[in-house]
């Protein structure tokens, strides 16, 4: 006890000294007293004296109210500290306090009962706690008056419009964060990141006198605050409420934006009270729920059966200190490796990778890539220069080699600059799946694998629509209703799995569901009815499935029960082909279907077939070429001497003379003198007549500039190895031109 005496005396001295000179609003002094009280409390626990404990607590709580300006009288605290000194000295001597200090405790703690009995809602109380009663009263009208004149000054208009921009940006970010939370609902940093925008919007809207936005944000903030403190778990209904709050706030803020632009005074037209009520209701119902269990992850991975987990859970009840993973390993139900990997999955999303980023205009990037492309070509022109080839200077060759390495390194890096992870596109699907599931009454879990896979920035944007289409298809038509799934011995919850990975020079994206799969008989029947095929005899299963992409397979009418799929998937195919990619579908009846999209990593480089027509050279995108051959005379026919056709593989394909389309003079007048290349676009085929195939080449696509942007039949230009320009053919444009000829 003697050890503590010094510290106790020190704490008492600090308090006494500060208390004597203490004035209202001297926050640092109050801080010192507060810390001294805490020290005293800690050091005197050994006394085990209830009275002392009470007195310290009473002083602390009174001091807290002084700090919060709920109390202004300093005397009671001073008296409290005085008696603390007396009591401590008495206790040190082994004596008690002769005087009854109930009156003092009353004086210090009186407000507690006063406060508890104070009428009015929680929110009102909280407000008072903040600024102090008198302050709050005078402040509020001032703030309003001030804000009332807001719309007028230019500075304030600026602040308002800044707020609109910043708030909308912050709200966008919430949606993305929510996905992280669904994976790991206990990650406090993520919860905080969602909490913060609401909190800030609340704060700023208070300044700007946007009362309705303030209230809405406050309500959402309350909900998040509860989650932050671990009182509620963010899932299902809470996520819905957060999303609805985001939507509503966006609407309200956009409303402000419109009014700002039109110069009308701000008044909310968006009803927000019902949502606030619902939030409050849900908050009052919510109870604490545990974390997403490891067992569940292991079952999903197929490492253990649900019986194993049930057994182990039962065992865990007997030995609560053991983790479920440990029990599973001990019982030899699961390999340590599997448990570890499941644990990693559980934690995976908690580590937010914060990389340093610089925002760059994509136009600058494009031009960098362009210039690098030209550099590479010029470099190869230089190497082929007759003078250099003839030179016998070792040093020159050495330097040229180095130049070569540097330029190709530069090109690789430049290309990679425009690559972004596909994550953001995947994450946009979370919201979609949630909404779709809700509307269709299905239960859907979304799994995402390989979100870090990189893809060209320009492709990412184009990919969004087709993916939405396919996912909508998978949820609407692929997955069964929960009851149906149960009858088929499936989990009530269907799964949509998004996966991305690189293969060769392509990025592959898979959209997989574990629904009912395609009904092949119905597809065949439908295809026959639509005259897309004559008979199915020769068709493989894959071919049958892919009929659903055929144009005209589905019409605008609702054909949802035909195989459960097929509303306008030809649109998807078209969009993917525009990106020079391919899409196909695999399916197993009763087990689900899988869309597989394969796209080139970048739109800047194209693999092309270099062909010659007369003196001109053109590049045909290799992806669109089916075959090339020299037709025999008997394969050629005409209809009324006009439309020319080539018979290939028992199909009549229209012939397109490239020289006529581009107004140049080709060498081959008769098709059997030249070559034809058969190309396919949007399910249609054409044979292009040309003179020679010069070879396959990877070329960097360059736009022909604004003036020549709209030229049909030409997709762009490319500089060839010899420095001359070759035109890249736009097959769909050529089809159109040919149709009008």
């Amino acid at each position: 006890m003697s050890l503590n005496q010094e510290k106790i005396a020190q704490a008492l001295d600090v308090m006494a000294l500060e208390a004597v000179t203490l004035e209202k609003g001297n926050i640092p002094a109050m801080g010192n007293i507060m810390n001294a009280l805490s020290d005293l409390e800690r050091e005197t626990t050994a006394f085990q004296n209830a009275l002392l404990g009470h007195l310290i607590k009473a002083c602390k709580s009174y001091l807290e109210r002084l700090i919060l300006s709920e109390k202004e009288e300093i005397d009671p605290l001073e008296e409290g500290i005085h008696y603390l000194q007396i009591l401590c000295h008495a206790l040190a001597r082994g004596e008690g306090l002769k005087e009854d200090i109930g009156w003092l405790l009353n004086k210090l703690g009186l407000d507690k009962t006063e406060l508890a009995e104070a009428p009015g809602p929680q929110a009102g109380q909280v407000r008072d706690e903040g600024g102090g009663k008198t302050e709050a009263k005078t402040e509020a009208p001032v703030a309003e008056e001030k804000a009332g004149s807001f719309g007028l000054s230019e500075e304030d208009r600026q602040i308002l419009s800044d707020f609109v921009m910043e708030a909308l940006e912050n709200l966008e970010a919430i949606e993305v964060r929510l996905i992280d939370l669904e994976q790991d609902s206990s990650n406090s940093e993520t919860i905080n990141a969602i909490f913060r925008p609401f909190h800030t919007i609340k704060g700023v809207s208070g300044f700007l006198n946007l009362g309705h936005i303030n209230k809405m944000a406050h309500s959402a903030e309350n909900m998040l605050d509860r989650a932050r403190n671990g009182k509620i778990k963010i899932e299902g209904p809470i996520v819905d409420l957060i999303l609805e709050s985001v939507d509503l706030l966006k609407k309200m803020i956009q409303c402000v934006q419109e009014q700002l632009e039109q110069g009308v005074s701000q008044k909310s037209e968006v009803p927000y009270e019902p949502l606030i009520e619902r939030i409050e209701q849900v908050l009052s119902e919510q109870t604490e729920i545990g974390d997403k269990p490891l067992g569940e992850i292991l079952i999903q991975k197929g490492a253990v059966t649900s019986e194993d987990v049930q057994e182990s859970l039962a065992k865990q009840k007997e030995a609560p200190e053991k983790k479920i993973g440990e029990i599973l390993i001990e019982e030899k139900k699961a390999e340590p490796k599997e448990v570890l990997s499941a644990l990693r999955d559980q934690k995976k999303f908690s580590h937010g990778n914060i990389d340093l980023h610089v925002k760059v205009d994509t136009k600058k990037l494009d031009s960098l890539i362009d210039l690098t492309g030209e550099l590479v070509i010029n470099q190869s022109i230089l190497r082929q220069n007759q003078w250099i080839l003839g030179a016998k200077d070792q040093k020159l060759y050495h330097t040229l080699n180095q130049l070569n390495q540097i330029t190709s390194g530069l090109q690789r890096t430049a290309m990679s600059l425009r690559m972004v992870p596909i994550r953001s596109t995947f994450q946009k699907m979370v919201r979609l799946v949630r909404d779709l599931a809700k509307n269709s009454g299905k239960e859907v879990a979304l799994e995402m694998i390989g979100e870090e896979t990189e893809i060209d920035r320009n492709v990412v944007d184009e990919l969004y629509e087709p993916m939405v289409h396919m996912i909508r298809n998978a949820v609407d038509h692929g997955l069964e209703l929960p009851d149906v799934r149960e009858q088929n011995n499936k989990d009530r919850k269907g799964t949509i799995r998004l996966q991305a990975y690189h293969r060769g020079g392509n990025i592959v994206i898979e959209i997989e569901d574990d629904g009912r799969g395609l009904n092949k008989e119905k597809i065949i029947a439908k295809a026959k009815e639509k005259r897309l095929i004559k008979e199915e005899g020769k068709m493989s299963e894959v071919d049958i499935c892919n009929l659903i992409f055929a144009p005209g397979f589905s019409t605008a009418e609702k054909v949802t029960d035909v195989s459960g799929r097929g509303v306008g998937l030809d649109v998807v195919k078209k969009a993917i082909e525009k990106l020079r990619g391919r899409v196909e579908i695999n399916s197993r009846a009763g087990q689900g279907s899988k869309f597989i999209i394969s796209l080139p990593l970048t739109l800047a480089i194209i693999e092309g077939m270099l062909v010659r027509v007369g003196k001109e050279r053109y590049i045909i995108p290799a992806l669109m070429i089916l075959e090339s051959f020299r037709p025999e005379k008997k394969q050629y026919s005409t209809v009324e001497g006009k439309a020319e056709l080539i018979l290939s593989r028992s199909k009549l394909i229209p012939l397109v003379r490239l020289d006529r389309i581009f107004g140049v003079q080709g060498d081959s007048v008769e098709p059997w003198d030249g070559l034809v290349v058969s190309v396919e676009y949007d399910g249609e085929q054409r044979c292009l007549l040309l003179d020679e195939l010069l070879g396959k080449e990877e070329v960097v696509i360059k736009s022909l500039g604004e003036g020549m942007k709209e030229i049909k039949g030409i997709a762009g230009g490319a500089i060839m190895g010899d420095g001359k320009v070759g035109l890249i053919l736009d097959i769909s444009g050529i089809f159109e031109i040919a149709a009008h000829h």
Binding site: I27, P28, E64, V126, G130, E166, N170, N192, F207
Partner: protein, 126 residues
């Protein structure tokens, strides 16, 4: 006593609009020497570069919160005597107490007027 308005003020907040508002309030009070930082880390960097006469910091920020910044400032021989005003939201009672314990010079509750802010400043600088 009039407060010396020539001192350099550091506003710390992750929300640009909020910084602008606080800046506006300070300007109305005659402060013209104002710099900004968007979180505690950035604020510490500014502190190392410039001679700061007053810190006005938000509580809730990513990377480094206002409380952590306060603790870092108070734990540093060079900075520990710089006046530090914490901006908190209404109803953040525990935060206020926490900040007071960590040696905050004063706190102010959003939304505030130039008058309220001035009152707090007077208390800080007397």
């Amino acid at each position: 006593m009039p407060v010396d308005t020539s001192i350099k003020v550091l506003i710390v907040d992750d929300f640009a609009t909020m910084r602008r508002i606080v800046k506006g309030v300070l300007k109305q009070l005659g402060f013209n020497n104002i710099i900004e930082a968007e979180d505690g880390n950035a604020a510490l960097e500014e502190l190392r570069k410039e001679k700061i006469g007053l810190i006005v910091s938000d509580w809730n920020m990513p990377n480094m919160s206002g409380l952590d910044l306060l603790k870092a400032v108070r734990g540093n021989e060079q900075f520990k005597s710089i006046p530090f005003i914490m901006v908190t939201a209404e109803g953040q009672k525990e935060n206020v107490i926490e900040a007071v314990k960590s040696g905050v010079s004063n706190y102010i509750v959003k939304p505030f007027t130039p008058e309220t802010f001035n009152e707090k400043l007077q208390k800080v600088f007397t």
